[in-house]
């Protein structure tokens, strides 16, 4: 019953993506407006889904890979609608919608069953930690899309570079909040704020790559392609922090 909201959101994101893509080739004011409307519908649908799942499970729905992917898709769409309203670059909006769609599509392949929380996750830090991490991930994903579009085009566009930077600044702040909330939580659950667990280590590697991006930008003036390559590298490290660590490495952070 609940998954109807998930399916409706999937449909809405798909329509939004298609409309953004079509609007790249036709100058029509109605198309991007409709696309924005469907993105908003998708966000509303996922908000309802997350809210109802929270209510039914009687705990925050952020405890496994499925639930985190839904949160990820929700956060990406939220960041994407902001970027779309501010910069109105249709190719960015189309690809960002595709990222939301991929996250939801992958989520739909996983077990949707609501299971009780493991003792390690029963903490108020769960919501703070997951939300800060995934808002950060979403912004870094938008930065990746913008950097990729920049790399694919022959002519360097300043706007794309600006979007990447703004999203990395925001994403870096939230990644920092995510790592810090994780450290504080680890200290209250296990008595160590840092134990070089693979998840921790990979989040630090990701943080370092974006720190390099910021330093080269501020002190050496790296812009355009050079900066875009760093943004893509940072995103790959982020993906590994999210998926790779869970599927390929073992450690304390085996939930999602």
């Amino acid at each position: 019953m609940l998954s109807i909201y998930l399916n409706l959101s999937f449909g809405a994101y798909f329509l939004a993506m298609a409309l953004y893509a079509v609007s790249m080739f036709f100058t029509n004011k109605a198309l991007p407006f409709l696309a924005r409307f469907f993105t908003a519908c998708g966000i509303l649908g996922l908000s309802l889904y997350i809210g109802m799942r929270w209510h039914i499970a009687a705990r925050p729905p952020f405890s496994n890979m499925f639930e985190s992917l839904v949160t990820f898709a929700w956060a990406i769409a939220l960041v994407s609608i902001y970027i779309d309203l501010k910069y109105r670059i249709k190719s960015i909006s189309a690809f960002v919608s595709l990222m939301s769609l991929l996250a939801l599509g992958y989520a739909s392949l996983l077990d949707k069953e609501i299971s009780p929380l493991l003792p390690a996750l029963k903490s108020n830090w769960l919501t703070i930690h997951v939300l800060t991490c995934f808002i950060g991930y979403a912004a870094l994903t938008v930065a990746f899309v913008s950097s990729s579009v920049l790399l694919l085009r022959k002519k360097e566009e300043k706007n794309l570079d600006t979007i990447s930077y703004k999203m990395i600044a925001f994403g870096f702040l939230f990644l920092t909040l995510g790592i810090i909330s994780g450290a504080v939580w680890a200290n209250s659950a296990w008595g160590t704020y840092w134990s070089w667990d693979p998840k921790e280590t990979w989040s630090l590697i990701t943080w370092f790559i974006y720190a390099i991006y910021l330093h080269t930008r501020f002190t050496k003036g790296w812009r355009g392609r050079k900066a875009a390559w760093l943004s893509v590298t940072g995103f790959l490290a982020m993906l590994f922090t999210y998926f790779g660590v869970n599927y390929l490495l073992s450690g304390l952070h085996s939930y999602g």
Binding site: S115, P116, L118, P119, A120, K122, S123, A169, F170, F172, L173, T176, L177, I180, A183, V184, N187, S188, A189, W190, G191, T192, Y193, W194, W196, P198, T201, W202, L204, I205, F208, I209, A211, I212, H215, T216, T219, K220, V245, L249
Partner: protein, 358 residues
């Protein structure tokens, strides 16, 4: 300023160095996520062989994050930070964010250093009813707590999937088993359940995730906490009140029929997950009980500068609880570094642009 003209100073002033150090530390950390860290020797020998283990041991690759060369790069990074901070010690508003965020990293590293120098960490394994007043801390040194901690009770609860059931099929004369189950009994260890209207009753006595028969004591035990061979012990009471107890195995449905020939029991195992680990403990000081509390995961107990965390437990008999003990005076320093870092980043990314605009 003379110092600022030295080669040392110039080397540590460069931004190029920061970028290289960040890249090197990231790369070394990355290696550490693919090689098991700080494990027992046999873990490495199984995976890499004796020569491989020797290699990892001498290079420090089996304990990267405490290897001298890793620490060396952290020290270089700290020196780099200090020199850059001193170089940019200009009291202008637009440098404030940069200063705070970089200073915060030094504070966090300082906090970590304080923890390493003055902190303690170790494990206490307490048997039920027994008392511990010291633990094996860093460098295998015995540390006295200055008080005692007693384990009164250890409780382990599991979440049982609601779909998990004990199915009861009637067996007709000639040993033909019916296709429809006449009862579906929940598998919580609990009171009696009736088998439909047959007059028989069953009771779930015990659950073992990894059933094994101990041949020396002739008693059932669990080899591990992994559900390799889930089994439940049931007590069957017939119409006349006669009792029979036997085990039913989830993976071996035909293995129980010694006790009753009227029914066939199928244990439909779905999966169980830990729900709670609770250590009920009391703190004793000068032979007087001063505190009595529960320690759970995410709910540690702090007393006398030490904090106790639920860490491990006796998976067979629930006879002991493993508590992690830690004392880390560096934590407040690290946390203030965290706050400074967040403040610094907010200033750089959001306050400075606002100030520039106006």
């Amino acid at each position: 300023m003379l110092v600022k003209q030295t080669k040392f100073w110039k080397f540590f002033s460069s931004v190029k160095l920061v970028i290289w150090l960040l890249a090197i530390i990231a790369a070394l950390s990355l290696i550490g996520t693919f090689i098991p860290q700080n494990e027992e020797p046999n873990v490495y020998i199984d995976k890499f062989g004796h020569a491989g283990y020797q290699f990892l041991l001498t290079t420090g690759l089996s304990a990267i994050y405490s290897a001298w060369w890793f620490i060396f790069f952290l020290i270089l990074l700290s020196l780099n930070l200090v020199v850059c901070l001193l170089n940019r010690l200009i009291f202008k508003v637009r440098f404030l964010g940069t200063f705070i965020s970089h200073f915060s990293i030094l504070i966090i590293l300082l906090g970590a250093l304080i923890g390493m120098a003055f902190g303690q960490k170790g494990m206490i394994k307490i048997n039920k009813g027994e008392v511990a007043s010291s633990f094996l801390g860093r460098n295998e040194k015995q540390v006295n707590l200055g008080f005692s901690i007693r384990l009164d009770e250890f409780i382990y609860n599991e979440n049982i999937d609601p779909k998990e059931k004990l199915l009861v099929y009637p067996v007709q004369k000639g040993g033909v088993c019916a296709l429809e189950a006449i009862a579906q009994i929940p598998t919580e260890i609990s009171a009696e359940s009736k088998i439909a209207d047959t007059g028989y009753k069953v009771r779930i006595l015990r659950y073992l995730p990894d059933f094994v028969m101990d041949t020396s004591t002739k008693s059932a035990a669990s080899r591990s906490a992994e559900p390799n061979n889930p089994a439940i012990e049931i007590e069957l009471q017939d119409k006349s009140g006669k009792l029979a107890t036997f085990w039913v195995f989830a993976h071996f449905p035909d293995m129980h029929q010694k006790a009753g020939t009227d029914f066939k029991f199928i244990y439909k195992w779905v999966g169980r997950q830990p729900k709670d680990f609770i250590s009920k403990v009391a703190i004793l000081k000068d032979a007087k009980e001063v505190m009595s509390r529960d320690i759970r995961v995410n709910k540690p107990l702090s007393f006398g500068g030490y904090t106790f965390f639920q860490y491990s437990y006796d998976q067979d008999q629930l006879g002991w609880s493993g508590l992690q003990v830690s004392k880390d005076p560096g934590v407040p320093v690290v946390y203030s570094g965290f706050i400074l870092l967040i403040t610094g980043l907010i200033v750089i990314f959001y306050v400075n642009p606002l100030l520039q605009r106006s």
